[in-house]
Symmetry: C2
Subunit: 135 residues, 2 copies
DNA sequence: TTGAAGATTCCATCATACTGGAAGGATGAT
DNA sequence: ATCATCCTTCCAGTATGATGGAATCTTCAA
């Protein structure tokens, strides 16, 4: 075995959905902290690391850049630092997320309308992009 | 002047937020149709093209790939084709958007909680990533 | 009419985010 | 013991999505 109860990079990959290569890449890129190593020099991961990887996986799937993800993770790690700047950063992210959610909702509505109202319809125009612009 | 009332690529760029280079790139990549040309071989754009560019701009900002954007635009263009497949594709996108919106909302909540509850607090753990996993 | 500004094409380069492959060491089941 | 499988590092290559620059027109305003 390795570091007390830790899992290998392969197991962490399976549990998180992030391939081993990509996990190493994230480590090199400084997105995650260097993993603990066992006597055999293998990286060792615990549940919290897997959780972080899962978070990265989901955030990436939502279109966040690695830079964004790093900032979100730093925010999480620094949650006890009580700094005004950290709070301000968090609030900026919340505002940004609200904007994203609103825009996604607008697009969702547009696509839903396309699916429900316009299919097979011979009307020459469904002015949906117009409506979206007003949203 | 150019094609009846059309604007140049530079104007379209200003109105849409997409730089001229990028507009040409989108044309080359087949994301948008080749623009009409005037006698001087300049590309000419109307309001609807600008609207499309604005849509692309926003969708890209939301993390959609150019492939996704192309598909959404095709969906819009084909809205009168009445095909079962087009409707099915639209509904798949709606489901996907609902999922994205739900995940973004979960992350939004997490960041908001970080901002409001955990700043300056000496509690050793805010189990927010855990909660997020359940979401 | 003479520039400055903005258009054209084409080709190169960049940034982000992986992904593949080689060469070698460790592990684990038969 | 051996063989597949997984780990290690390192370096190269790929995919996506632009972006920069050169060389050359066109337009427009002074």
């Amino acid at each position: 075995m390795n570091v007390k109860g830790g899992m290998t990079i392969g197991e962490a990959a399976k549990r998180s959905g992030v391939p081993p290569k990509t996990i190493r890449f994230y480590e090199d890129a400084g997105i995650i902290a260097p993993a603990a190593r066992g006597d055999n020099r293998y990286r060792s991961y615990g549940e919290s690391e897997v959780q972080t990887l899962r978070f990265i996986h989901r955030a990436r799937g939502l279109g966040f850049s690695l830079k964004d993800v790093g900032e979100l993770l730093a925010l999480y790690r620094d949650r006890n630092r009580a700094s005004r700047e950290v709070k301000a950063l968090a609030l900026r992210h919340v505002a940004e997320l609200d904007r994203k959610i609103a825009e996604l909702s607008a697009i969702r509505t547009m696509i839903a309308v396309l699916a429900e109202r316009c299919h097979g319809d011979e009307r020459p125009d469904c002015p949906i992009l117009d409506e979206l612009d007003k949203a």
